[in-house]
Amino acid sequence: MIYLLVILLIPFSLWLPWWGFAVPCFAMGLKSDGGRLKSFGIGFAAVALLWFAMAYYLNIQSHGLMAKKMSDVLPLAGFSWGVFLLTSFIGGVLGGLWCLAGRWCREVFLTGHVKSKVAES
């Protein structure tokens, strides 16, 4: 699931503004069979992974200067890895939350069509 999402993220990130990744995350959440935690996890992992990998690759192209210098510009005390962590974290959290939004959307609007894990009381 995660890898499918990662692949889907790419065209949406390239052709939409920076928040474009929210769309496939939401869609993945709609389709998700798992619970809420799992949905969040899929979104988080996919975006964090993709953003980290891209950032890492792009950073190499500048011989490490991007992460190093931005860690001084942002309040990260010169800790280059902090820039990667922040990047993955922000992207991951947003991705996870949007995936969760998709999962909840289905739960709220489409419960009739899906086997719900929560027993009706």
Binding site: W18, W51, M54, M66, V73, W98, W104
Partner: protein, 813 residues
């Protein structure tokens, strides 16, 4: 209650969640206050991760756009310097604009905005004071005038329009992900370039070099103490010994008849509401050195030309280095990013160099205004109406300010109070077509062309060297008010016309020398004429320590001029000021009983110092601290702290002190000292020297420890090259750099040689350059600050001067 029922999401909770999530997402996509928009900034698809450096992947480029008449090739050498080859001038400037935009877009934008008072639109409230100041001094109107003069001449119009079109060709095709990182951090966007922006960049440099308002500070002293006392320590006519006139050549300068009149200027200004913005302060370290040795004097028969310009250190570097070749020119040199052509350049048969001339082209006046109608002022006994223009300044935050510019017959109003106003006139506000001069210099083949190029130039006045294979000359290039007397040093009576501004002194009458007998020319912002010269250009030049050092070095070289000698002089850190005064200071305190053993030891070592301001030595730090404290102890009581008040020129202080120590008896001359009734001047000065010695010792020990070996000069005077926006991650700090305020290699930690060139003109042509920066303005590029370390060490690059495009083996890291 079944907790699972509670956990089941209700619709309204879901809607709230999505709403909040949208709010969070949108907020992360906007900049909040000074914090950047984190979402787009950190995304590897749109953020700073996308600002990959260009210079790692560039090789020779050939541009074949429809806008060009024929293809243009750019050869990038191993230093990352571009060499542009075009078959038409318009194409040359187009591509120059394109690559400068590609490398330095943000910097160009900021420079232009500084000149138009529009920084706050992009940076925010914190630059409002700067914008307000530049609008108040009439920069927008001055920019408009330069703009019109550029458009009014076919040659400059072509260059400026082609250049702007080239910049825009880059900007128009720029994707959001490729915006320079500073825009991403500021939450701002790049904009299109216009000829007016070129005018604004020119005006920024103009003001930086000629917007000296020291007259205001002097006026405040005169109000307090009167002319008699002030003249003693601020001589209106700078004594010849403080200057270095151009070496004598065939030219005779217009001579004055009689002694300059000083009476008639005992008019004490009444104004009280003195402006105090820091931009009003004199820009002391914006100057430069240049010199040239004629081929007739050198053993190898080549003419040597050297120029290093002194401005504030920052990244990206002010100067952009390149070679430009078209049918009308083949020239290498430096241009201010954002302008077509070059401002400093050379080729195999000719070169030119500039230093700031510093004549006073900004005069202040006092006018009477009508208390009940502040737009009415008195002129020739009539009440006239000011002409008001309103300018708006807006900030990124939405805050906006209106500035009213009031024009009078005596200039622009700057400061007001109930019944009086201060106005000023600045010649830089009515410039000529300086761009045309620089374009003509870029095309010049020899000194004749060089001299012809000068006619379009008005401000700021420069000491221009023209050097070709035959010889050298130097001209005070520009115009200045035609003063026979020292009036321009004071606040003058604005109720009547000032005849000195009605006709101006031009190149024909300003100082110059062609084919000097000494075989060389030189300048370092010093007084360039003696007291027999007819006109009064300024009361306030830079100290001539650097100029004297350059002259004596060139005299000693004789014909043995070579590249190494030129480099050695350009990076020379001998402090003539220390040589002048330190021995007297040391002997004044040496016999004092209050000194501790370590202090006596220090004095002994100090007396063996060779006056070189080396980064790794402690002697420069001690001398610097001792002198500063001593100087302050002389004047602070009467004149106030040096930071906020005019102090006498250091050469004059040194002379006063030397005379005082020798037993000069005129107590009126030393009115500023707190002398007791029969106290000899000598012992008073000696006790001040001792006091400041102790204070210097304490200051350095407290800060750096008791061992003088911890007081290294580069520790005490930290040299930094900060980023334009002062972002710590993008600057370079704590460089190991020699030099101080008065050494040839000027360095006060923040200002110094931002461009260095040494050119050997003739058949065995070679040229060496360096500057504290790099080609690229992208902080993530190795080309951003590639030259900083070498420059700090005093190293140079031997440049490539190409006749046709060439492929270079790019540096592989």
């Amino acid at each position: 209650m079944n907790w699972r029922v509670l956990l089941r999401l209700h619709r309204w909770q879901y809607h709230l969640y999505v709403f909040l999530l949208i709010v969070v997402t949108v907020t992360l996509g906007r900049s909040v206050g000074t914090a950047p928009a984190l979402g787009p900034l950190l995304s590897p698809f749109t953020g700073f991760w996308q600002n990959k450096p260009l210079h790692l992947i560039k090789k020779n480029e050939t541009f074949d756009w429809p806008q060009l008449q024929s293809p243009v090739t750019v050869s990038w050498d191993e230093f990352g310097i571009p060499h542009i080859f075009a078959a038409h001038d318009a194409d040359l400037f187009f591509v120059q604009g394109y690559i400068q935009a590609r490398d330095r877009l943000f910097q160009m934008d900021m420079t232009s905005r500084a000149g138009s008072g529009r920084l706050s639109e992009v940076i925010g409230d914190r630059t409002m004071p700067v914008d307000i100041f530049y609008v108040k001094v009439g920069m927008r109107q001055a920019v408009e005038r330069v703009y019109q003069s550029i458009l009014g001449d076919a040659e400059t119009r072509l260059a400026a329009e082609s250049y702007s079109a080239g910049v825009n060709h880059y900007v128009e095709n720029l994707k959001k992900a490729d915006w320079p990182v500073e825009y991403k951090l500021l939450g701002a966007r790049p904009r299109l370039w216009d000829v007016k922006d070129i005018a604004a960049v020119y005006m920024v440099m103009n003001f930086r070099l000629s917007g000296r308002t020291y007259d205001l500070w002097l006026a405040q002293h005169i109000q307090k103490f009167g002319y008699e006392k002030i003249r003693k320590i601020f001589p209106e006519v700078m004594p010849d010994e403080y200057g270095e006139p151009y070496p004598k050549g065939q030219n005779t300068l217009p001579q004055r008849q009689g002694v300059p009149a000083t009476s008639g200027f005992d008019r004490i200004p009444k104004f009280q509401n003195w402006p105090s913005e820091r931009y009003i302060q004199p820009f002391a370290t914006n100057g430069s050195n240049n010199w040239a040795v004629a081929s007739t004097k050198t053993e190898d028969g080549h003419t040597y030309l050297a120029n290093d310009t002194h401005l504030k250190f920052h990244l990206p570097a002010i100067w952009y280095e390149q070679q430009l070749k078209s049918p009308s020119m083949n020239v290498y040199g430096a241009s201010i990013a954002g302008t077509p052509g070059l401002q400093i350049g050379f080729h195999k048969q000719f070169g030119w160099g500039v230093t700031n001339g510093t004549p006073d082209i900004l005069d202040w006046y006092e006018i009477e205004i009508d208390e009940k109608n502040p737009k009415k002022y008195k002129f020739l006994d009539q009440w006239l109406e000011m002409t008001t223009t309103t300018e708006a300044i807006t900030s990124k935050s939405g805050q906006s300010t209106q500035i009213e510019l009031d024009e009078t017959r005596s200039g622009l109003v700057y400061s007001r109070e109930a019944q009086l106003a201060l106005t000023f006139r600045w010649l830089g506000a009515t410039p000529g077509n300086e761009l045309k001069t620089f374009l003509n210099l870029s095309r010049a083949k020899n000194r004749t062309d060089c001299q012809k190029a000068m006619v379009h130039y008005v401000a700021p006045v420069q000491n221009l060297i023209c050097a070709d294979t035959e010889g050298v000359s130097m001209h005070h290039m520009g115009k200045a008010p035609k003063r026979l007397n020292p009036g321009g040093a004071y606040i003058q009576d604005g109720s009547k016309p000032d005849p000195t501004w009605e006709t101006l002194v031009g190149i024909e009458e300003l100082p110059k020398t062609e084919d000097p007998l000494a075989g060389f020319v030189y300048s370092a912002n010093q007084l360039v004429h003696d007291s027999r010269y007819r006109y009064y250009l300024s009361w306030d030049y830079d100290e001539s320590y650097r100029a004297k050092r350059i002259r004596s070095y060139l005299e000693n070289l004789g014909g043995q001029t070579d590249i190494i000698g030129m480099k050695s002089l350009q990076t020379d850190d001998q402090n003539l000021h220390a040589g002048d005064i330190l021995p007297a200071m040391i002997s004044a305190v040496s016999d004092q009983p209050d000194l501790s053993a370590p202090q006596q030891q220090l004095l002994k070592s100090l007396s063996e110092w060779n006056f070189h301001m080396r980064a790794d030595q402690w002697e420069p730090s001690f001398f610097d601290a001792w002198w500063k404290l001593f100087e302050e102890s002389l004047y602070a009581q009467e004149l106030g702290p040096k930071l906020k008040n005019a102090y006498p020129r250091i050469q004059h202080t040194v002379k006063l002190i030397q005379q005082g120590l020798e037993g000069h008896s005129d107590r009126e001359l030393y009115w500023f000292l707190d002398l007791k009734d029969f106290e000899p001047i000598t012992s008073h000065i000696e006790s001040l020297m001792l006091m400041s010695f102790q204070a210097a010792w304490k200051q350095l020990s407290d800060r750096y420890g008791a061992d003088p070996r911890n007081w290294s000069w580069s520790q005490v005077q930290k040299t930094s090259v900060p980023h334009l926006l002062n972002l710590k991650g993008f600057g370079r700090f704590d460089l190991l750099k020699h030099g101080s305020r008065y050494t040839v290699d000027v360095n006060n930690g923040e200002n110094g040689a931002v461009w260095r060139q040494i050119v050997k003109i003739g058949p065995n042509f070679e040229a060496h350059t360096n500057f504290p920066g790099g080609t690229s303005g992208n902080p993530f590029s190795p080309q951003y600050d590639a030259f900083v370390d070498g420059w700090a060490k005093g190293e140079y690059r031997k440049i490539h001067f190409l006749e046709e495009p060439m492929s270079f083996q790019l540096e592989d890291k």
